[in-house]
């Protein structure tokens, strides 16, 4: 890689109390690429993304975005930093007190202080991009199905045309067809924006669809990283076990241990 990576993590560590969650994570994502981080439940996938966003503060290590330090930012610096990002949360995390269109336009109106009418037009356009009609905008999140909520959340994540988008378990809890619809939308939106993307998932069908590169996290470390196509012949026993979903292998589920 000749150009410096868009997102760079070096030896990032994070513990909750005595329990280490990230154990020295190294990761580099070039601009405009889509990286999917795979790994089992509780391996630190969500914590990884939250550390990059500054929602959690890492205990140690370096996190850089576009060559700039991303740890411990405050005030306006942090606002400017966060304006680069869009994030799709696992449970959609829509604001249930606001109608759908205000959810989508929230970052534009609150974060960027755009006027309501203009923000509303953009919200309707973004809803259209994820395949939702304009009149859905008047409904409240609780009136939508899980798949539609995910679409609205996706529209919200891309509303401000971010240069980096994070997807936290985008297909969890959806039926396979809706999952594929969401995957297609993700690919479409990321390509359209030319954004850099990091997704975390344990859904291999989703990972294959949206990834340019795949990295596997296990016990708080990146144990394998490569092009998406290479994942099937990684030669790594952990990756093999994970992508084929076998109970037997080097990854032991801590089922009986307290």
């Amino acid at each position: 890689m000749s150009v410096s990576p868009h997102i760079l993590l070096q030896n990032v560590t994070k513990s909750f109390g005595p329990k280490p969650v990230l154990n020295g994570v190294d990761l580099a994502v070039p601009k405009g690429r889509s990286l999917v981080v795979i790994g089992g439940s509780g391996t630190g996938k969500s914590v990884l993304i939250k550390c990059i966003l500054g929602l959690l503060r890492p205990d140690g290590g370096v996190i850089e975005v576009a060559g700039e330090n991303a740890v411990g930012l405050k005030g306006e610096e942090r606002d400017r930093f966060l304006a680069r990002f869009g994030m799709l949360f696992q449970g959609a995390a829509l604001f249930d007190s606001l109608p759908v269109w205000e959810n989508v336009a929230f970052g534009l109106m609150q974060g960027r202080r755009m006027d309501r009418a203009k923000a509303r037009d953009i919200a309707v356009a973004k809803l259209g991009q994820v395949g939702l009609a304009a009149d859905v905008g008047r409904l409240y999140p609780a009136e939508l199905s899980g798949g539609m909520q995910k679409r609205v959340a996706l529209a919200r994540a891309i509303a401000a045309d971010p240069e980096i988008i994070f997807f936290d378990e985008p297909t969890t809890g959806l039926d396979p067809i809706m999952a594929d619809v969401i995957n297609n939308l993700i690919v479409d939106c990321v390509k359209r924006l030319g954004a850099t993307a990091i997704s975390i998932t344990h859904d291999m069908a989703s990972a294959r669809k949206i990834a340019d590169d795949i990295a596997m996290i296990h016990k708080g470390r990146i144990i394998w990283q490569g092009a998406a196509a290479a994942v099937d012949h990684s030669g790594n026993a952990y990756v093999e076990q994970f992508i084929h979903g076998r109970a037997e292998g080097p990854i032991q589920m801590d089922v009986l241990k307290a």
Binding site: F89, G107, R112
Partner: protein, 258 residues
Amino acid sequence: MNPLAPIGAAVFALLAEVGRLAYFTRDALVQGLTPRIYAGQILRQLFRIGYSSLPVVGLTAFFTGGALALQIYLGSSRFNAESLVASIVALGITRELGPVLAGLMVAGRVGASIAAELGTMKVTEQIDALVTLSTNPFKYLVGPRLIAAVISLPLLVAVGDTIGIFGGYFVGTRSLDFNAYAYLKNTADFLKLDDVTSGLIKAAVFGFIIALMGCYHGFNSRGGAQGVGRATTNAVVSAAILILAANFLLTSLLFKVE
């Protein structure tokens, strides 16, 4: 095991909680009460915390005023001092029972709902979502609730004082055979501005405590429905205890015999 260990652990846990609360209070004041100010959110909370609490506070004050009149009549009649009923009812309501009972009722009503709402937003990642949309949750959620509560409580107590005195008047004239004119004249002649303002100062402090406890426990709730339930209980219990403690402290500070 060292028999003193549980005591030490409990002390450490208590100190850690006090520290967390202190940090939260600092953030609430420094971030929550400085621009940007969300006027729309403040209005919304004024309606929710203030206006919607009127019936509860009014009813509480009315019945308390009535009961107070009966009890004071009972006590004062033993010294042939029945003429004191009106002025002592007014004093008791404005200085003590008005603010304390309104504070406790609003803590139950509003403190619980703030904790439940923010707790749900926390566990469904809506608060994280706010951050990723370049909106500071302390400014958007905590600040407006604190401001609205500090404004609302004195207003509620002012209304409650009036209704409470009327409750005493109602019982005094209906069942204790006081002359209506004399009762009101007694009330007006003996009540000082200081009696009312000291109660309103207390009310403002109670409002701050209620909103702070609701926000603190909401922001720190974790673990789904059970966690939100626990946060709600803790918000009400801690607000109630702090209100009673602050009441004692403020009464001692504002107490002066002319």
